[in-house]
């Protein structure tokens, strides 16, 4: 069962080769065996998972099986799931049991998928290495001395280590695509507004978007069929007809125009990584695609813009963690102000506090125009770059991250170096566009990912383009040695 795709698992359940309980138990056993070495999960609740599996078996028995019915899915600990601890990787929410389901969770529940557990993540999704989690860093199954990327590092490690068939994740500046790249997975960040944010703990509301993290594009498509759709509980959720992302997934891509932005191949990109990306480009040429050079002239501004807008929103979004109603509250205090200050000082980690302070600063009277407003203007320029680029190509291709997985601790003390990890992914979030990362090779036995960026709502096309690549290559089938 370990290497089966979601489609194969679905078939196996249908043909009664195994039950959901057996399948779930199998992965729970894998967790027993391996989770301690990679720390991919924050919460595992076998009783809950097995109870769900039992229920799923009933659904299958009644003949009402859906694609994901009975399949255990790892859920990023950013999604509220009723009755489950939902910590968002923070001490602040270490005691928080969610009293309701996020829309994403209820959609998985509605099709009878099994919640396999809640995955580790950077605290409040702030980080690119999963080293800011209150629950300790996650290790990359390809080399447990290296990071899995972040913030969805737990989800990435869980799927890469074959501890879960698939996982959910979220992406604010690259948090799906960069860990997918570092862990050899296929991950999709959909168009902003395609997947509901209701019940997904907010980091930067105008950038946050949930998506799947799987081995293949086809698995991502199956996950997207469940996750996407308009939600009246999220005002930024988009009203449009629901798509089936599996329908055109094997359509030929002959004549496809792939744009390669020259700015993605400048200083900072590891030359070995660059070679692998070139290899991917050649593969697409062989498959009949046309390659055109394009330009995203403002891409170099995306990191500074992001580190104004995201912290600004975060500083406000995280104000609710004040120790009054739920979550952590400091033990001793004499008055309200001291309770606030100590609670937040003790409850939040370094990176979160850094961003709250930056965000508070850029929104302050006298600085707002120079930082926040200016950043919003540049954000529009960045979107314009993409708009122009898509006049000349169907999809944009480049690296997902500047390097392969790096050693734990290497960048932890240098936030600016860490922030560079998202140099190729952030502009997509700023523009609200969909982006996908898929494995395209190994460098020193560590995975390298290719990123595909599409126009708004082109998820089906992206998945199709990735799937054709995967039908002709084998990189997505590789597994780290100790987790086979």
């Amino acid at each position: 069962m370990i290497n089966l795709s979601l489609k194969e698992l679905s078939e196996g359940l249908k043909q009664k080769k195994f039950s959901s309980v057996e399948l779930t138990q199998f992965f729970l056993n894998r967790l027993d065996l391996h989770n301690s070495s990679i720390n991919a999960f924050i919460t595992i609740d076998k009783d809950k998972s097995l109870a769900m599996a039992k229920h799923s078996d009933e659904i299958i028995k009644e003949g009402n099986q859906d694609y994901l019915t009975g399949i255990p899915i790892a859920q990023k600990d950013i999604f509220c799931a009723e009755g489950w601890k939902t910590s968002c990787g923070s001490k602040m929410l270490d005691n928080f049991i969610a009293p309701y389901d996020s829309t994403v969770i209820s959609k998985f529940n509605a099709v009878g998928a099994v919640n396999l557990g809640k995955t580790n993540m950077d605290e409040f999704a702030m980080g690119s290495s999963n080293e800011t989690s209150f629950y300790g860093n996650v290790k990359n199954p390809w080399d447990i001395k290296t990071v899995p990327g972040g913030s969805s590092g737990g989800s990435a490690a869980a799927v890469a280590g074959r501890l879960a068939p698939a996982a959910t994740a979220t992406d604010t500046g690259g948090s799906i695509r960069q860990p997918a790249s570092l862990c050899g997975l296929t991950g999709l960040k959909p168009t902003y507004g395609l997947v509901s944010r209701y019940g997904m703990i907010a980091f930067a509301s105008s950038l946050d978007q949930a998506g799947p993290m799987c081995h293949t594009a086809e698995d991502c498509a199956a996950m997207m069929n469940v996750m996407s759709g308009h939600d009246p509980k999220d005002s930024t959720s988009i009203q449009r007809a629901k798509e089936n992302y599996l329908t055109g997934i094997s359509d030929p891509i002959k004549g496809l125009k792939i744009g390669v932005p020259r700015e993605f191949f400048s200083e900072g990109l590891d030359p070995e990584v660059e070679k692998i990306i070139e290899g991917g480009i050649n593969e697409y040429k062989k498959l009949g695609a046309e390659i055109v050079e394009i330009s995203l002239p403002n891409n170099h501004l995306s990191i500074p813009v992001y580190y104004v807008i995201a912290p600004a929103e975060a500083s406000s979004n995280l104000s609710r963690y004040d120790g009054v109603r739920y979550g952590y509250r400091t033990k001793e205090y004499d008055d309200l102000m001291e309770m606030y200050c100590k609670t937040r000082e003790e409850g939040f980690g370094e990176e979160v506090k850094r961003r709250i302070m930056i965000g508070t600063y850029v929104l302050s009277a006298g600085y707002y125009d120079a930082y926040y407003l200016k950043a919003q203007k540049i954000r529009r320029l960045i979107s314009e770059d993409f708009k122009k680029a898509f006049e000349n190509c169907d999809v944009i291709l480049g690296p997902s991250a500047p390097s392969v997985a790096f050693p734990i601790g290497e960048k932890k003390e240098d936030p600016l170096k860490m922030y560079m990890q998202d140099v190729y992914t952030i502009s997509t979030n700023l523009a609200g566009l969909p982006g996908l990362s898929m494995p395209a090779g190994l460098m020193n036995e560590l995975p390298v990912g290719i990123q595909l960026i599409g126009n708004y709502f082109s998820e089906a096309k992206l998945l199709n383009i990735a799937n054709i690549f995967q039908m002709n290559t084998d990189w997505h089938n590789l597994s780290p040695e100790e987790f086979k």
Binding site: R197, Y198, D322, V324, R325, L336, L363, S364
Partner: protein, 476 residues
């Protein structure tokens, strides 16, 4: 030295919606603490605001009522500050682009009218409240009110006395109830005013430094607070002092104002557009629909009453003072009662009786249809105005038919000319001295004779008819 007073008012009007502005929780007042604290009110991790369309409709109605521009595109912003009764750590409000732009409201000051300019009105959510003293050394938080929709209505500094401030507040209070967007309950805090007061030397162009009196929830307090504050500021300036921009509170017990915080201590609210809510877009079509469903406004009704029905300014003000009075009047008119008689009966007999029993016109035991029956009996001369008052007292809270009461009390006027003439002749015979007095030029005697006839007829003669007959007889 002579001083001029400058006043601007910000009013928090609680909108009459079933549910909160950004969640489905109820807006009911007076429930158990936190009975209406849903996950959104509690600001649980991951929850999101969804705008209540009904609150927007209320804002549009208000905009139309003060002849304001309704913004095609307005923005919800976050106002960030920490307080236990503000669960999210920010209030969702509107800052740079409010839903309602410039408009105006005309107030009456005796016989004169004055137009107060409305600067803007914006939608926002209310906060919860802290409850002290339930348990010693601890404070509780009640979030029932958190998220209740408010329309904050801001004027230009166009008022120049406590009287004008009160007149504006009353007019606005009537208006928001009239258009059905607020229940106007001031005790429950559903209509509360922040009053900005400054003074300047007479003729000086530059405005003085203002102090803002927070949260006044009665007209009496507005009057008292402004009067006190104006005196305080003038005295201070005349003593050579200066005014510091600040927020102040009015203490109704002492009748004084005191400083809450100065401008330097004011929060930096770090306003920015709320990324959880899309810009509020209002189509002209929607505005037109709401406009077509709106009642006539008090100002429109008033001018119709004066122009078409010939009511005095004063009477028209009385009828349009609130929607319930206006509705009572409209109902009376639907029975073809004359506007003047209807007005008189409402403003005198009905009002005094309602006041006596401290009843709201909405709950008047005497319904409009029955009062109309009574008035129609005056119009068709079945009974005199005086007799009608007796009937009114009788039917006030009794389930009796008007005609039955007239019959029972024997108040029906004598309309038969012969019958009236007989009485008249008798009276003239009995009072020859008076007739002589009249003939020698004493007009008073005429009325005295009418009085005698009325008395002789036990009030059943029609005074007009008697007067006419008497005049004919005496000039024969």
């Amino acid at each position: 030295m002579e001083w001029e007073v400058v006043i601007g008012i910000e009013t928090h009007t609680q909108l009459k919606t079933e549910s909160k502005i950004f969640s489905g929780a109820s807006t009911n007042f007076g429930s158990e603490p936190n009975a209406h604290a849903c996950l959104v009110s509690l600001a649980y991790p991951g929850v999101l605001p969804v705008l209540n369309e009904e609150a927007v409709n209320c804002a549009i109605r208000f905009g139309l009522a003060v002849d304001a521009r309704i913004a095609e595109h307005s923005i919800f912003a976050r106002k960030n500050y920490f307080y236990p009764d503000l669960p999210k750590g920010y209030q969702i409000s509107q800052f740079e682009l409010p839903v309602v732009g410039e408009g105006s409201l005309t107030i009456s000051l005796g016989d004169e009218n004055k137009t107060i300019r409305i600067l803007r009105a914006h939608l926002e959510e209310d906060a919860g409240k802290s409850v002290h003293g339930i348990e010693e050394g601890k404070s509780g938080i009640d979030l029932n009110r958190a998220g209740t929709p408010l329309l904050e209505i801001v004027t230009e500094p166009d008022m120049s006395s406590a009287e004008e401030a009160v007149a504006y507040a009353k007019k606005l209070h009537e208006l928001v109830q009239w258009i059905g967007i607020c229940d106007g309950n001031m005790q429950e805090g559903n209509f509360r005013c922040d009053v900005n007061v400054s003074v300047k030397k007479k003729g000086e162009k530059k405005l003085g430094t203002r102090r803002e009196i927070k949260n006044l929830n009665s007209f009496k307090f507005i009057k008292q607070a402004v009067d006190y504050e104006v005196n305080w500021q003038i005295e201070r300036l005349e003593d050579g002092g200066t005014i510091k921009q600040s927020t102040i509170l009015f203490d109704p017990d002492s009748g004084e104002t005191r400083e809450m915080r100065s401008k330097e201590e004011a929060n930096d609210y770090r306003y920015f557009p709320d990324p959880d809510l899309l810009p509020l877009v209002i189509s002209q079509e929607k505005i037109n629909t709401i406009k077509s469903e709106m009642y006539e406004l008090p100002s429109q009704m008033k001018s119709k009453l004066v122009k078409e029905f010939g009511l005095s300014n004063y009477d028209a003000d009385g009828i349009t003072s609130n929607i319930d009075v206006a509705n009572f009047f409209r109902e009376l008119l639907s029975f073809k009662v004359s506007a003047k008689l209807a007005t008189n009966w409402i403003l005198t007999n009905l009002f005094s009786r309602l006041n006596e029993s401290n009843i709201d016109i909405k709950n008047s035991p005497l319904k409009a249809n029955k009062l109309a029956e009574l008035i129609l009996r005056i119009e068709d001369k079945t009974i005199s105005n005086n007799a009608a008052k007796k009937v009114f007292d009788e039917i006030w809270d009794q389930d009796e038919k008007v005609d039955d009461v007239i019959e029972k009390l024997g108040l029906k006027q004598i309309s038969n000319v012969n019958e009236v003439e007989d009485i008249l002749n008798q009276v003239l015979q009995d009072n020859e001295a008076m007739v002589e007095e009249y003939k020698s030029g004493k007009d008073k005697a005429f009325n005295a004779l009418i009085g005698k006839v009325m008395k002789a007829s036990k009030g059943k003669a029609n005074p007009g008819q008697v007067s006419q007959l008497l005049k004919d007889k005496l000039t024969d």
